[in-house]
Amino acid sequence: MHEVSIAQSLLKIAVESCEKEGYKGIEEIKVKIGRASGLMPEALSFAFDAVKIGTIAEKASLTIDEIPVTGFCESCKSSFTVEEAYVISCPKCGDISIRVETGHELHVYEMDVF
């Protein structure tokens, strides 16, 4: 629902770090979005295309790496990956002593600049 404000924030991070290093423009911005972050990648791409107009990222593409929810079960000592946006028990043994390891990411991690 708030993909526009997220798109504005990631654009700001990208533009500011690009300008600080003296680059003229951005061709690509790569972000990691966890499945548990509550963001829809399609809506984020749509919002990004709208907010980038008139900035040095006007021609930039947005590459979204979706990170699945993964975790580790303390009971059966195994790692797991789930399709859902959350996990409440180990998909293998059903125990609830689990540690969620990925899925909450919301990061800009790389840019292609000129």
């Binding site: 629902m1 708030h2 404000s5 997220i6 924030s9 990631l10 700001k12 991070i13 990208a14 770090s17 690009c18 290093e21 680059y23 972000v31 548990a36 972050s37 509550g38 946006a85 959350y86 409440i88 028990s89 609830i96 919301l106 990061h107 800009v108 991690y109 790389e110 840019m111 292609d112 600049v113 000129f114």
Partner: protein
């Protein structure tokens, strides 16, 4: 040319939230970020909490809504300092919106500040505003499937208040299922069952809240 930038997208928000929190702490105010779907009873819970605690604590309120001043008027009637934020469409409050209204509240005179977020079970959970604790409200008529459909808010909150328990006889809702799935998502979650209409269960909630405020 490829450049590495490892930066959290909400970093700017988190930075302002930390500034807000510093201001609140320096003034000695405990801050709650109260979240729920529209109509779950946030304003009613605030009214009940004020009635129970206003003789013991000095309370202030920030009301967040997309539009309108109705909630702030309800709170002002109780003689409590209140500021209304209208987000003009935004689905949540963010740290900057709170930062802009801090000066409008007599912080130094307050012990407790309740921030009522925009009614929405999704987005408010992601934005820190400078609170000490996130509290969520779920009215039982919303259904017992909500914890697993909207997990993030249940995971981010310290307390879950189940409101409108007076409606239980008229629904097929299993309060046990709500509790079980909520605890599965967040083992530290403290759960209260209340009816803001009848007042049932309110005392337990306010006593717990009061115990957190030095």
């Amino acid at each position: 040319m490829k450049v590495k930038v490892v930066s959290h997208i909400l970093e700017a928000n988190d930075r302002i939230a930390a500034e807000n929190r510093n201001v609140f702490h320096e003034s000695g105010v405990y801050v709650i970020n109260l979240m729920s779907a529209p109509g779950a009873g946030k304003t009613s819970l605030i009214e009940r909490t004020i009635k129970e605690l206003s003789s013991k604590l000095k309370i202030g309120v920030i009301e967040g809504d997309i539009a309108g001043k109705d909630d702030a008027k309800r709170i002002a009637k109780l003689g409590i300092p209140v500021v209304q934020i209208n987000t003009g469409g935004a689905c949540h409050l963010d740290a900057n919106m709170i930062n802009e209204v801090i000066a409008d509240l007599p912080l130094k005179d307050l012990n407790l500040l309740i921030i009522e977020n925009v009614g929405n079970l999704v987005c408010p959970a992601e934005f820190k505003v400078g609170e000490d604790m996130k509290v969520m409200l779920l009215s039982i008529a919303e259904g017992d499937d909500k914890p697993l459909k909207y997990p993030l808010m249940f995971q981010e909150s310290s307390a879950l208040i189940l409101n409108k328990i007076d409606l239980l006889p008229y629904t097929n809702v299993s309060i046990e299922k709500i509790k079980k799935n909520s605890i599965s998502l967040n083992k530290k979650l403290k759960i209260f069952e209340v009816s803001c209409k009848t007042g049932e269960g309110i005392r337990k909630w306010v006593e717990w809240l009061q115990s957190l405020i030095k």
